[in-house]
Symmetry: C2
Subunit: 389 residues, 2 copies
C-alpha cells in the first residue's frame, strides 16, 4: 500500500516511520522539505518543543479524557526509540531519567499537592523530597525552594534529534552498521516539497492537490499538517476540526564551563519542573551543555516572540536555578501549537473519504503523543484496508 | 592628501566623511566591507548602540575629564548632520527632542538628585517634573514612579542609519537631488575589505600591512579599529593603549498596533532614562515603531548574549513602561565596547609615526563622541601637514 503523509512535524514523521516499518511505501509531503527532498528545517512546534515526556505535567483537572492518551504515548516511547534504532544510528536523545518537581513559594507547594493527589488517582509515582535532599542531588538549585518532589517517570527526548532520526529512518537503505533493515519494512520514503491544498477520495484511494497545481494519488493518506490543516480543502477534511494557534516561546541557554564545579557536566542532572508564584516553568538539561527553558502558552495573536513571555521564563528559571543568569542566551524559538477547544487531538477518518486519516490538534502534547498517534493512524488505515479487502 | 582610515565603526566613518569634506582622498579599510567594497554590516558596537546623545547620562562623578569631550560631541552633532545632508539624502535619525529621566523608587530618586547637582555644575538643563505631569505627557509610563525630570537637551540619533548615511556620503558622486557636492570635497572614497595587521611610517606617509599580505600606502592614516586595535602592530601603534572588552546587550522591541491609542504612533514620545532599584535602563522610541532598550555593561568575558542581562533589561523596562511586556522582542544585540581604564578615548599621534592618528577606546561614548573625534583627528592630521610643509 502506498500512503502519502502530509506534514513533516513529529506526528507526520513518526506515522511515516511506523507505516514504513509495517511494509508500506511512504511519500512525505511538506513545505519544509528542500528541493532535493531533504527536510531543511524541522517544522513548527516540533522545532521549538522541549521534549518533556511527563504525562502528568501536561494534563489539567478538566482533561480526564486526555490523560489515558498521554499515558499511552508515554508507554509507547521505548518502543518508538527501539523501532528507530532498527533503522538508523541517529539517536533521539531519549533519556528515561526522571525529573524533579519544585515549588518556589508555599502556595506553589499547595498547588503541587493537588497535582500529586491527581497523580495518585492516575497511578503515577511522585514522591515528596526534602529541599535539603533535593539540593544534595542538585546543588545549583536555589536554597529558597518551598517544596520538592521526585517524579522518576518523567522522561525527556530531544524533539529536533527525534525528528532527524525519523527522517534518517525514512531514508535508510540499510540498517545500522550497514546491516539489513527490519524484516517486512517498506521501501525508503519519497519526499515531496510542497503544500497540499486539497485531499479528496479517488477510487479506493486518495487524491492530493498541491499548491503548485501538482496532483499526487495514493492508496491512503495521513493529514498531519498541524495548523496547516486549516488550509487543506476537499472532501477528506469534510469534518470540522476547530484549530487555533497557541503560541509558545522557548529559550535555549548555554552553560559556561566556568559555571561548573569539577566533575560536573551540567548545572542540573535531570529535568526540573517548577511552579513559581503560580506560573509553570521547566528546565531541561541537554547532553550538549544547553538548557531548554519553556514554555509560554499565549493566545494573544502575536506570532513573534513576546517580550513579557521571555521575561517571565528567565525570571522564573532564575528563581529556581540562579546560575541561569550567568548562562549565554543562545536561542529564542517561538512557534504555534495547533490547539483544539478541549486540548485533545483529533485522529479520525471521514466517511466521505475513508482512505484519509486526519491527525492534528496536538496542542502542547505532540511530542509525547506521537507514538500513540502513529499507532492509532496505522490502526485506522488497517481497518480501511480490511474494508477494501 | 590621501588618508587611509582603518575601521568602519562610527569613529572611522565620521572621520572619513570629515576628511572627504576637507578635500582629502579617503580609503576605508575594514573586515566588514564586502568584496564589492560596500559595508555589508555596521561593525561591532555601532551596530548595537542605541544612540542616546545625553552627555550627562554618560559621565560618572570620577570622569570630569571626559565631560567636556562629551559636551563637545553633543554640540557638534547638528554640524555633523548638516555635513552629511550636504552629501546624501540618507537621514541619520537625529532627533533633538529631549528625554525624560525617571526613578522607580525613592532611593533611585535620591540617586538622580546627585546627578542633577552634577548637571547644574556642568551647566546642563534638567528640571524636576511631577509624576502626574509626566504621565500626562506619557500616559504609558507606570503610575508607580518615584520621581521624574525633564532633560530637554538629551537627544537621540539612530547609529545604524548614521553609519549608513556616512557610507552614502563617502560614496556620493553627486549631492542630494543630483546637485553638486559641497565645494572642495575630495573624491568618492575607496573601500577595501581587509584586516590591517601593521601600521608603520614610510617616507612622509604611512604603510599599512593587511592580513592577506597586501600593502597600502597613504599620506596619512587613521587607526579607528575599536577593540581590533589590539591586533594592529607596527611602529604607529608604539604607544600603549590599554583596551578591554566591555560587553553590552541591547534589545529591540516592536510595538504592536493594538497597543496604541487612536492618534498615538508610539508608546512614548521621547527617550526615557530610568533608574530601577539602582540599575540604569533606557528606552529609545524609534520612528519605525521599534523601541530600543539598553544597555548592559559587562566585563564577565561572555561574548555571547547574557541571560541575566536580558532578564534585567526586560524587567527594568517593564517596571517603567508596563506595555513592554506585550511588545514583540525582535532582536537582541551583543557587542563589545573598547574600554580604557579611565573610560576616556585615546585620540593621539605617535612620535615614531607622525602620519598616523590612533583613535580608539571610546567605550560607551562612541556615538556621542564621533563628531568631536572626527574634528580632533582632522586637527592632528592638519598639524602633521603643516609640519611636512
Amino acid at each position: 500500500m502506498h500512503v502519502a503523509v502530509v506534514g513533516a512535524g513529529i506526528i507526520g514523521l513518526t506515522a511515516a516511520v511506523r507505516l514504513r516499518a509495517a511494509g508500506h511505501a511512504v511519500t512525505l509531503i511538506a513545505p519544509e522539505l528542500d528541493t532535493a527532498g531533504r527536510p531543511h528545517a524541522v517544522a513548527g512546534a516540533t522545532h521549538a518543543a522541549a521534549g518533556m515526556l511527563a504525562p502528568l505535567a501536561e494534563t489539567q483537572f478538566s482533561q480526564d479524557d486526555l490523560a489515558p492518551l498521554l499515558q499511552a504515548g508515554w508507554e509507547a516511547y521505548p518502543g518508538l526509540v527501539d523501532l528507530l534504532a532498527a533503522f538508523t544510528e541517529v539517536e533521539t536523545g531519549f533519556l528515561p531519567q526522571g525529573a524533579w518537581i519544585v515549588a518556589a513559594d508555599p502556595s506553589d507547594a499547595r498547588a503541587w499537592d493537588h497535582v500529586l493527589e491527581h497523580a495518585s488517582i492516575l497511578g503515577r509515582r511522585v514522591e515528596p523530597v526534602s529541599v535539603r535532599a533535593l539540593r544534595r542531588a542538585e546543588p545549583a538549585l536555589t536554597p529558597g525552594l518551598a517544596a520538592g518532589f521526585d517524579a522518576p517517570d518523567d522522561h525527556q527526548v530531544d524533539p529536533r534529534r527525534l525528528a532527524a532520526a525519523c527522517v534518517a529512518a525514512l531514508r535508510a537503505e540499510t540498517g545500522p552498521d550497514g546491516g539489513p533493515l527490519p524484516a517486512g519494512a517498506g521501501p525508503a520514503a519519497r519526499f515531496v516539497a510542497g503544500r497540499v491544498t486539497a485531499a479528496d477520495p479517488e477510487g479506493e484511494g486518495v487524491r492530493l492537490t498541491l499548491a503548485d497545481g501538482g496532483v499526487l494519488t495514493a492508496d491512503g493518506a495521513v493529514l498531519a499538517a498541524g495548523l496547516g490543516h486549516r488550509g487543506i480543502g476537499g472532501t477528506a477534511t469534510a469534518v470540522e476540526v476547530p484549530l487555533r494557534p497557541v503560541h509558545g516561546d522557548v529559550l535555549r541557554l548555554r552553560v559556561r564551563p566556568e559555571q561548573l564545579l569539577p566533575g560536573e557536566s551540567h548545572l542540573i542532572t535531570r529535568t526540573v519542573r517548577g511552579l513559581v508564584h503560580g506560573r509553570q516553568v521547566y528546565l531541561v538539561p541537554r547532553a550538549d551543555g544547553t538548557l531548554v527553558v519553556g514554555a509560554s502558552a499565549r493566545e494573544d495573536g502575536l506570532a513573534g516572540t513576546c517580550a513579557g513571555a521571555v521575561l517571565d521564563l528567565l525570571a522564573d528559571a532564575a528563581a529556581i536555578l540562579p546560575a541561569v543568569r550567568e548562562c549565554e542566551l543562545v536561542e529564542i524559538t517561538t512557534a504555534a501549537r495547533p490547539g483544539t477547544p478541549d486540548d485533545a487531538p483529533r485522529v479520525l477518518t471521514v466517511p466521505e473519504a475513508p482512505g484519509a486519516v486526519v491527525a492534528t490538534g496536538f496542542h502542547r502534547h505532540g511530542i509525547l503523543l506521537a507514538p500513540w498517534a502513529a499507532g492509532r493512524i496505522l490502526e485506522l488505515l488497517r481497518a480501511r484496508l480490511k474494508e477494501i479487502a
